[in-house]
Amino acid sequence: MSDLRTLHDAFAELERRADAATVGTAPAARTHRAVRLIPVAVTVVAVAVMIAGAVWVLPGRPGTPAAGPPTTPSTSTTHGSAPTSPDDLIARFRVVLGDTATFEVTSKNTVPGAFPSKQPGTSTGPQPEDPDAPSSPLIGGTLTAGGVTGSFSLMIYPTDSEPDAWCTLSRTEDCDVSTLPDGSRLATGTARPAPGAVSHLASLKRPDGTLVLMHVGNQEDPRGAALDSPGGEFHAPRPPLTLDQLTALVTSDKW
């Protein structure tokens, strides 16, 4: 038998490993790099979002209500340049969405140019901002289609990462990855992070290196959340768009 001192010794050793991993010196941490659930490049993106700074809230103008959206991926190769501001992204989203749905933007963020990650696997902490790198807009809010309201988030940014990296980060169970005729790489899937919670993901890496990332969910958090956590409240039994509808939006040639 052991006593509680041994348990505290174990805690102290685990703390030591945590500290060592944080500064990137733990051999044990490197042992499992190959099976990390979240690719470091994606973590860099998430960290970039964390250090983005100001978030301000501004209602968007709803679009017009809706007929049925397209349900198959576009094969067009024409894409505009990446949007440079949340307002730019909102304007483009309104065009792409057409009469598919209405939406209201509740958060507009500008993520500093902390990506793409040129050296994946070399850092696990917050990344310094590159003042010369372009900033990327990220918007989120509510979206209503067919009488169902849910949440959405949308971001377009340049990256070295593959689109299916977001499947892992978003806990997508059945990630489907394909290559479109124009060479774009498309990843789609659905996550069910908690009982009753449904989050659809579509992530398109375009030939120009920009990634269009969109989530729609039936909770306050479009990526889904634990039921008793922030973002865990339900809007509806299902997301406002089907996965096919979401895919059609992300692959639209109207961006």
Binding site: M1, S2, D3, L4, R5, T6, L7, H8, D9, A10, F11, E13, L14, E15, R17, A18, D19, A20, A21, T22, A26, A28, A29, T31, H32, R33, V35, R36, L37, I38, T43, A46, V47, V49, M50, I51, A52, G53, V55, S107, T124, G125, P126, G140, L169, R171, E173, P193, A194, D221, R223, A225, A226, D228, S229, P230, G231
Partner: protein, 163 residues
Amino acid sequence: MEFAEYVARQRPALMRFATVLTCRTWLAEDLVSDVLGRAFEHWERISGMAEPHAYVRRMVVNEYLSWRRRLTRISSRADVEPRVISDGADERAERDAMIRRLAGLPRKQRAAVVLRYYAGLSDREIAAQLGCREPTVRSQIHRALNALRIDLTAGVADFQETS
């Protein structure tokens, strides 16, 4: 408090907590990154709470407990990180054996033990964090201590239970 300031101050503590909880540094990194990403999205609300750090730590516990599917999927590879044991290092051997037993606990039992003996929470506070009743907490801890082969009567005074 600005989010960046919070991360700078508390990320090391969250990493330690998550590592004790998961027994795996790489998994703790994922867990903390994921939770901080979610916390950022709701920081305006969280920062207005009386104890933002306690709330974020609860998010870590919730996230950890909700990772059943992912942890099950990787369980064959997610063994406790191996450590080299020096000849005659009995204390380290005992400590590492304890880590292995800790890693082998069911998640709720492990969370209860960590919240009690690492975070120092009371039964009532643990019950609130785990979403269960106090008798359930006591039962989880009792089973966990048996599995960990810990004899409370063999402990020294400064490691007595806090509630």
